[in-house]
């Protein structure tokens, strides 16, 4: 406290004294750590299944939300606002997902005098409405993809407009994000069914069922630009992130720089991203997502008005701490970073560690994690929300951790990531770690030839084990069981089994044949 006072008196900045983190998992942990470094007290919130979660252990205070159902816990605006007031939190950091892009939440914070760490409610509202966002961008001179963004949402209109755009086309939830409420439609006869299903998913995830349709691009890459904007009109971009490797329309591997980026294209896209942010009066950290086609034409896709999952790769290559800047900007500080002084240095990759089974349609897996041991080494960062003994429940997103590595160039970076993944121990639930390793090994990935179809093109029927249990695993198991079996059990076993190989014990001699 004393330290904080001194700092604000010296005019450095007048930071919040206490911040509530309206999230869970790795991102809550990451934000709490940023707060701690800055001397800000933290308040964690948690549902009944997150009693022992790391964010709860780390925070200065923690408040129980009860019922783990998202709508009753991490999405419950009145509950969270009440806790913020009760704990005397001056600001709320929403993380990503949950309420991060909910304008009502930002507004509710504002109404009770708690600072929402992110852009203004009306900006979230505008950007969350993908239709209005595209119209705004078009006006600001940022290129957009052809499609139907109309307000008429009846099936007849949507079917007619869909046929007009042609196939393949994309059905997307207007309020969506993260692949939820999204369908690719390859032919007319499944259009109606896809629209209905997207609407239903969108209704349940975002409470709004309006959708839009747009042209589905050939060989598309997903490249996004990181933005930082202060509350005094200063906007900078922190270069691109290549996020093309996706499954179920959700990113799994991100890297920066993009293997396809040129200095010319970077400058053009960076300027467009800054223009996009300025067009809506954007403040705080945000991301402008573009689709880039095979001829390097780029189109504005959407703006994410939050800190992205993949923000650490930008932090690695620019040396800038985005979470801390979010806190500074929200407290009114000016952006002291200048565009011309920013440098992109080396190469960074992020792999998202999910509790899911890649050999079974990436279905989420649940259970108890019996052991976790992340890799450690130079330039390896593990943003994690898990520990040995944690239960993975079906209530929330299956992300467990984010592994981020940094190296001088792409090749070194891939080698480092490969090493790190092969030393990442997660036992008890099925994860995508072995799958990520194989993606990194793929020759097209190595060459940087990636599109958003990469996983579907090359890993459609991937399975984990082709050759069964390897001999090393068999030996390790046998040794383990030998060490951990009590003597009496062995004796009983011997007597019980008439075919016991103990009868052949004479075959073995001390100092016998090894290999």
């Amino acid at each position: 406290m004393h330290f904080l006072k001194k700092e604000s008196q010296s005019g450095v900045y007048n930071l919040f004294k206490k911040v509530l983190i309206a999230n869970r998992g790795e991102i809550a942990v990451r934000i709490i750590k940023a707060c701690q470094e800055m001397g800000i007290k933290t308040v964690a919130i948690y549902s009944d299944v997150d009693n022992d979660a790391i964010h709860v252990q780390l925070a200065d205070e923690s408040v129980n939300l009860g019922d783990p159902t998202p709508i009753e816990s991490y999405l419950n605006i009145p509950k969270i606002i009440k806790i913020a007031k009760h704990t005397g939190s001056e600001a709320i950091h929403p993380g990503y997902g949950f309420l991060a892009e909910n304008p009502d939440f930002a507004q509710s914070c504002n109404d009770v005098g708690v600072k929402f760490i992110g852009p203004e409610s009306k900006v979230i509202s505008l950007m969350g409405d993908k239709i209005a966002a595209k119209k705004t961008m078009e006006k600001a001179g940022v290129p957009v993809i052809p499609g139907y963004h109309g307000l008429k949402q009846d099936n007849t209109t949507l079917l007619k407009e869909g046929k007009k755009i042609g196939f393949p086309l994309l059905v997307k939830a207007t309020a969506g994000g993260g692949g939820k409420g999204m369908r690719i439609v390859y032919s007319e006869d499944i259009l109606e069914q896809s629209i209905e299903s997207a609407k239903r998913e969108s209704k349940s995830a975002f409470g709004d069922d309006s959708v839009f349709l747009e042209k589905y691009l050939d060989k598309p890459r997903h490249i996004e630009f990181q933005i930082l904007a202060d509350e005094h009109g200063n906007v900078i971009h922190l270069f691109e992130r290549e996020c093309s490797v996706q499954r179920r329309h959700q990113k799994i591997i991100e890297e920066t720089p993009s293997p396809v980026m040129t200095p010319y294209l970077r400058e053009k896209m960076g300027k467009a991203a800054v223009a996009a942010a300025k067009a809506v009066g954007y403040t705080n950290a945000g991301t402008v997502e573009f689709m880039v086609d095979g001829n390097l034409n780029f189109y504005f896709m959407e703006m994410n008005t939050r800190l992205q999952v993949e923000h650490p790769i930008t932090e690695a290559t620019t040396g800038i701490d985005l979470a801390k800047w979010q806190l500074r900007i929200a407290s009114g500080e000016r952006l002291t970073l200048k565009q011309k002084n920013l440098i992109q240095r080396g190469h960074a990759i992020e792999c998202r560690i999910y509790a899911e089974d890649p050999s079974n349609g990436f279905l989420p897996s649940t259970g108890t994690i019996s052991k976790v041991e992340p890799p450690k080494g130079p330039n390896i960062r593990d943003d994690s929300g898990i520990f040995s003994g944690i239960k993975i429940t079906p209530y929330y997103d299956p992300i467990l951790a984010k592994l981020v590595v940094y190296a001088e160039n792409r090749k070194e970076c891939l080698n480092k990531m490969k090493w790190a993944l092969s030393h990442y121990v997660v036992l008890g639930v099925t994860t995508n770690i072995a799958f990520l390793s194989e993606v990194l090994e793929h020759k097209e990935f190595r060459k940087g030839n990636i599109t958003t179809h990469f996983i579907d093109d090359y890993f459609k029927d991937w399975t984990v084990t082709k050759d069964g249990l390897p001999i090393d695993a068999i030996i390790a198991l046998a040794v383990y069981d030998s060490i951990h079996t009590k003597r009496e059990e062995i004796v009983r076993y011997k007597e019980a089994d008439p075919h016991s190989p103990w009868k052949h014990v004479g075959r073995w001699r001390v100092g016998g044949r090894g290999i």
Binding site: K180, R200, E201, S204, A205, N360, G361, L363, P364, T366, G367, T368, S370, K371, P394, Y396, D397, P398, L421, S422, V425, L427, G428, T430, T431, I433, A434, S437, V464, T465, G468, L469, P470, I471, D472, A473, I474, I475, A476, L477, A478, V479, Y480, D481, S482, T485, I490, Y493, D497, H499, S500, P501, W502, V505, W508, V510, G512, R513, G514, I515
Partner: protein, 163 residues
């Protein structure tokens, strides 16, 4: 000591004996003489000739998880006596692929359905999973209603095959 491990419907028969500083492992007509130590709980360092195997093992309720060379294997130790019955997944097995909530039931008992038709929609981790008819037939039973919690492996809908 004689142990059987089941991994993905295969059973591996292994025997191991400990003599002085060595473990002798027999598997598939080969003998392996190794030196091993448990450096930390569940963490093994095994020397086999000049080669080193590093492995981490944990135990679940009935299964064991082995981490070796960047891969994880899930095995179930099985009883020595009695043949292992391998339960094959039936063609019409409509067990839930995931634990989640039923958000939509598309059919009623007695409905005729076509192969590929969506029967039930289950939501977990904000994703939708569709239970589809495996063949043309008639709905015999619907085991869950909207908003019910369904666990992985539970039978969702039963469909009689059309003959």
């Amino acid at each position: 000591m004689f142990i059987n491990y089941e991994h993905e419907n295969h059973v591996y028969n292994v025997s191991i004996e400990r003599r002085e500083n060595y473990f002798f492992i027999t598997y598939d007509n080969s003998e392996y003489k190794v030196k091993a130590e448990e450096t930390r709980a569940g963490q093994l360092k095994i020397k086999i000739g000049e080669r080193l195997i590093k492995s981490i093992i944990t135990e679940g309720e009935k299964e064991k998880f082995v981490f070796v060379d960047g891969h994880v294997f899930r095995v179930i130790p099985v009883e020595l006596t009695g043949k292992k019955k391998v339960r094959k997944k039936e063609e019409g097995d409509l067990s839930s692929p995931i634990s989640g909530k039923v958000v939509n039931v598309k059919v009623k008992k007695g409905d005729s359905v076509k192969k590929g038709e969506v029967l039930m929609v289950i939501e977990a981790m904000k994703m939708e999973y569709l239970i589809r008819a495996p063949y043309d037939g008639k709905v015999k039973n619907i085991n869950f209603k909207e908003n019910d919690q369904v666990e992985i492996g539970q039978s969702t809908v039963e469909v009689d095959k059309e003959v």
